[in-house]
């Protein structure tokens, strides 16, 4: 029998008790992993163990895939019309709303982000996302094409079947919603692997999914490691599509495994080193506020973080002064304290990685304007850090750090800065700050990125697509565009009179 996670929250932001089984979720039930091993869940504020969850193995993935296929062939897929899928998804939304505070508390405990951000962005955004896709479920339409009068041709937008979904640790619940929403709306069944660092909200969602009344096997969740469970999913001969959000490094492995197994369709949301270009005529105060939000929000653990900040020379000094002040004002500390902006990084591994980037910046001769060191002596807290005096060849300018570390670069020429901005293998997002809207649009159109923000950063909506150019990804999430990832198009030709 898998164990239950029982915990009493007694914090300024949230008080309450939780208790739920942390087994693998297969066919509507919570089970031990086949090897009966577990994975510890660590509290990033102090490095201590919160609880442990069942660990899945490739054998468990097999069981989950079987359950997903059975459900697809009997109670889901083409057996559950869109209107019915819509109703169940709406029920899930209502249950998530009822449990919103608890979900936010679990997210803050497990990931380290503040309760306030978790509640107002992660949980609220997840609810919005599922609600948005519930509305699509009965609106997945094909086309009828005109050919000749002795033929009827039309397309059906059918569900793909059993889809594998592998999600990261930076926005655990939100990334689950982005994946479940379109997949369920289109009628697919799912085998999902949450990050081994942050499984709690995903597992809690399984209980809510049962409560909503989804047939067993429609959603299956297998906690486990990337190189076992993740790999089993991407190379499984009976998983018909895999969707992954995480590092570019792992994204390559997944695409390779898909190619080597059954050529399953692959969508990837990978890393970024997104530029934020601030022109002389920008509203400086707004530029400062958005730039800070762009790199420091979620502790810099955001794939689209505006981590390279290019500031035109006319306002460079003033911007840097204000940006440093703003950064100084960001409070780092307990995720459950009401005025905290930034909690700890998610894990020791991430902490070490970010610190090593900071050291490399210092060693390469970049200047630390603020931060550049650990915060406190317990847990994985890092002070918000700004580097200046950098060189494009430095690691801190080229590589994704995924921490609260921004580099600020002075520029003069518009053409040149666009070139510099595009000089990266990544292409997830980009931002432009200027009051000249013509220049804004021109620049946005020239930036090679899947999302171009004008006078804002890190601003997303469930109905606007999101995804990467170049090595930042394949495919789009959110909006109507996500449906294409979970749809298999069949063309039907009905011959009415053409005789051979």
């Amino acid at each position: 029998m898998p164990s239950a996670f029982t915990h009493e929250f007694n914090t300024p932001a949230f008080k309450g008790k939780v208790s739920f089984s942390t087994g693998l979720f297969i066919n509507g039930q919570f089970l031990d992993g086949s090897d009966k091993t577990t994975i510890d869940v660590i509290n990033p504020t102090n490095g201590k163990v919160i609880t442990s969850v069942s660990e899945g193995t490739p054998k468990d993935v097999d069981l989950a895939v079987d359950a997903a296929h059975a459900a697809f062939d009997t109670t889901w897929g083409l057996h559950a019309p869109g209107a019915q899928r819509s109703i169940l998804m709406s029920k899930l939304v209502a249950i998530m709303e009822k449990n919103a505070d608890e979900l936010a508390a679990l997210e803050a405990l497990d990931n380290g982000k503040t309760f306030n951000w978790a509640r107002n962005v992660d949980v609220a955004g997840s609810i919005d996302c599922i609600r948005y896709y519930a509305g699509w479920a009965d609106k997945v339409t094909g086309q009828v094409q005109e050919t000749t009068e002795d033929k009827l041709t039309y397309t059906r937008h059918e569900p793909i079947g059993v889809v594998g979904q592998i999600i990261p640790w930076n926005f655990p619940l939100l990334m689950m919603a982005w994946k479940l929403g379109p997949a369920l709306a289109c009628g697919n069944t799912i085998v999902l692997k949450p990050s081994e660092f942050t499984p709690l909200t995903a597992i809690r969602m399984c209980h809510l999914i049962n409560e909503a009344g989804f047939p067993p096997g429609v959603v299956n969740v297998i906690s486990g490691y990337g190189n076992s469970v993740g790999n089993a999913i991407s190379s499984h001969m009976r998983v018909e599509k895999v969707a992954f959000t995480g590092s570019t490094l792992v994204g390559r492995k997944i695409m390779e495994a898909a190619a080597k197994s059954n050529l399953k369709n692959v969508t990837l949301e990978l890393g970024g080193k997104s530029p934020n270009i601030i022109f002389d005529d920008a509203d400086i105060e707004q530029a400062v506020n958005w730039a800070a939000f762009g790199i420091f929000w979620n502790h810099g653990q955001t794939c689209c973080a505006g981590s390279r900040i290019y500031v035109q020379e006319g306002i460079y000094d003033e911007f840097l002064k204000r940006f440093t002040e703003k950064t100084r004002s960001l409070k780092v500390g307990d995720p459950f304290a009401p005025d905290t902006f930034q909690g700890p990084q998610v894990s020791e591994i991430q902490f070490n990685r970010i610190m090593s980037y900071i050291e490399s910046g210092k060693a390469a001769g970049a200047k630390v304007e603020i931060g550049g060191e650990r915060h406190g002596s317990e847990g994985y807290f890092i002070k918000p850090t700004i580097f200046t005096n950098v060189d494009p060849s430095m690691k801190i300018v080229q590589e994704e750090i995924f921490g609260p570390v921004g580099v600020v670069i002075k520029f003069k020429d518009e053409e040149d800065v666009i070139k510099q901005a595009n000089d990266t293998v990544y292409g997830l997002a980009a931002a432009v700050f200027t009051q000249n809207l013509n220049r804004a649009i021109n620049t946005a159109h020239k930036l090679k990125a899947g999302t171009a923000w004008i006078n804002c950063v890190n601003s997303l909506h469930s109905n606007v697509p999101f995804g990467g150019f170049k090595q930042s990804g394949i495919g789009r999430e959110l909006g109507e565009y996500a449906l294409a990832n979970y749809t298999a198009v069949k063309s039907v030709h009905v011959n009415l009179g053409h005789r051979m």
Binding site: D138, T141, L496
Partner: protein, 506 residues
């Protein structure tokens, strides 16, 4: 002065309830501004007893309602509210209707006559799904970006809400027709002045109460019970109403379109009458075809715009099919809506009752043969039993005109071409049905039939996500599906020049 609510008693279910009887403007029930003593009296069509009376709105009340709708559009609705918010509110409204489904069904049955179970499970069941369907569209109204010249121009469209919409709905499906209008209009961000039928305004008033309870801002939906010639006419001619949507008779539809043309060229969509044909081919499953044929003309006691009121049967199976049809039609029990045994209720009013009987008499007089029915029932209530005429010809009134009762005209044909020709010989074009097991024939015939909805081996069953509307004189525009959104959307194209400099003179 008319009071703003009244207590009614529904004997059959032992229910007492207070019903709003005022005009609904800005989320409140108010008396008429200039004719506070004008009333509309509502009749129970099964017993001919008066149910209660409601305020009768005047042209001035329409003015006030339009002003309220315009104000809401400019401040709390239209572009001032996000699709997400509209979606939430529409879903809440659906939840409230689900909560109150029994009460609503009882009042619908009392006022319209239809059986209670059908009102609840079909009319209201479909209504809830319809509103949820459109709630799902509210945050998905997208425009396009269009490539013109990448160096100089960004061109894109915005799908703006049209604005203030006048909506005029009929008495045959009061709640369901309300939902078909309200759903897409609100999803797109429009505000509404609704004129329910003067025969059946009660449930529209109860639904207005739920609009307020759901949290829609005041003025987004306004409800003015009134006579068609007063409220309906005022809305169609109003200079500050951007669009009028009407479901009802073709005769009234023309007046509305005329008034729209003469006033401010407001946009018009119309769902009008029909004289919809069904064709039964020799390869058809006769049992099933007979069942669907019965549903087609007897559902809602024939008071359906798509009623399959003409039936043409292929020669080779004519006798067998007609005798099957008659024996099935006989099985329908027409009675009081609260009687468990009733499969259909009375006609909605004395006027309708008299009209249907005039047609039955004309059928006889013009030489058609009565294969079933044709006998008036004694006693109270506007009950008409299933009536089937055979031996028809194309010139008879019962074959040309919309009767809107449980009266079927049955003819015969020899070839597929003849069948299609008979079916299409009408100025209407709302629905059509065909029954055949020959797939190629199904394709040819469904292609050839001139109707906005063609049913193959089925009849009368609609789905909220499939569009519905008329060809020819059965209407303009489409309801249901994504197509309904076009009726409540006004497209603005934006040409944003960021790179082209103009020389002058050219």
């Amino acid at each position: 002065m008319a009071s703003l609510s009244t207590r009614i008693v529904i004997r059959a279910t032992n229910r007492e309830l207070d019903i709003p009887t005022g005009l609904f403007i800005n989320n409140e029930f108010v008396p008429s501004a200039d004719s506070p003593n004008d009333l509309i009296h509502l009749v129970n069509p099964a017993t001919e007893e008066t149910i209660c009376s409601v305020a009768a709105g005047s042209a001035k009340d329409i003015d006030i309602a339009v002003a309220a709708a315009r104000n809401a559009f400019n401040t709390t609705w239209g572009k001032n509210v996000t699709g997400f918010e509209r979606s939430k509110l529409l879903n809440k409204l659906a939840d409230l209707i689900e909560r109150d489904q029994d009460i609503l069904a009882e009042v619908e049955s009392l006022n319209n006559g239809k059986p209670f179970k059908i009102a609840r499970d079909f009319d209201i069941g479909d209504t809830i799904q319809c509103l949820r369907y459109y709630a799902g569209w509210a945050d998905k109204i997208t425009g396009q970006t269009i490539e013109v010249d990448n160096k100089t121009k960004l061109a894109f469209t915005r799908h703006d809400p049209i604005g203030v919409c006048g909506q005029i709905i009929p008495w045959n499906y009061p709640i369901n027709m309300w939902a078909w209008k309200v759903g897409p209009a609100l999803a797109c961000g429009c505000t509404i002045v609704m004129k329910p039928s003067e025969l059946t305004p009660l449930t529209a008033l109860m639904l207005s109460k739920l609009i307020a309870e759901a949290g829609f801002p005041p003025g987004v939906v306004n409800t003015i019970p009134s006579l068609g010639s007063v409220g309906g006419a005022a809305l169609s001619a109003h200079m500050d109403v951007d669009k009028v949507a009407f479901t009802g008779s073709t005769v009234t539809g023309r007046k509305i379109m005329e008034a729209a043309a003469k006033s401010n060229l407001k946009k018009v969509s119309l769902e009008l009458g029909g004289k919809s044909p069904q064709l039964v081919f020799e390869s058809a499953d006769l049992e099933q075809a007979a069942n669907w044929a019965c549903l087609g003309v007897l559902y809602n006691t024939g008071q359906d715009c798509t009623a399959g009121s003409r039936l043409y049967v292929q020669d080779t199976i004519y006798d067998k099919f007609v005798s099957l049809l008659v024996s099935k039609a006989k099985e329908l029990v027409i009675g009081d809506g609260f009687d468990e045994k009733s499969g259909g209720g009375p006609l909605v009013s004395k006027t309708q009752f008299d009209k249907v009987w005039r047609y039955i008499e004309s059928g006889r007089a013009q030489g058609a043969k009565v294969a079933l029915g044709g006998q008036k029932r004694p006693g109270k209530g506007f009950f008409v039993d299933p009536t089937i005429f055979t031996d028809i010809n194309a010139n008879m009134d019962i074959v040309r005109d919309e009767i809107f009762g449980p009266v079927l005209a049955v003819g015969r044909f020899k070839t597929e071409e003849e069948g299609i020709s008979l079916a299409n010989d009408t100025s209407y074009g709302l629905g059509a049905g065909l029954h055949s097991n020959d797939a190629s024939q199904c394709m040819r015939v469904s292609s050839a039939l001139e109707a906005g909805t063609v049913w193959v081996n089925q009849y009368n069953l609609l789905n909220n996500n499939v569009p519905f509307g008329g060809k020819k004189q059965s209407g303009i525009g489409r309801e249901l599906g994504s197509y309904a959104l076009d009726e409540y959307t006004s497209v603005k194209a934006i040409h944003w020049n960021f790179g082209e400099k103009l020389d002058w003179p050219l």
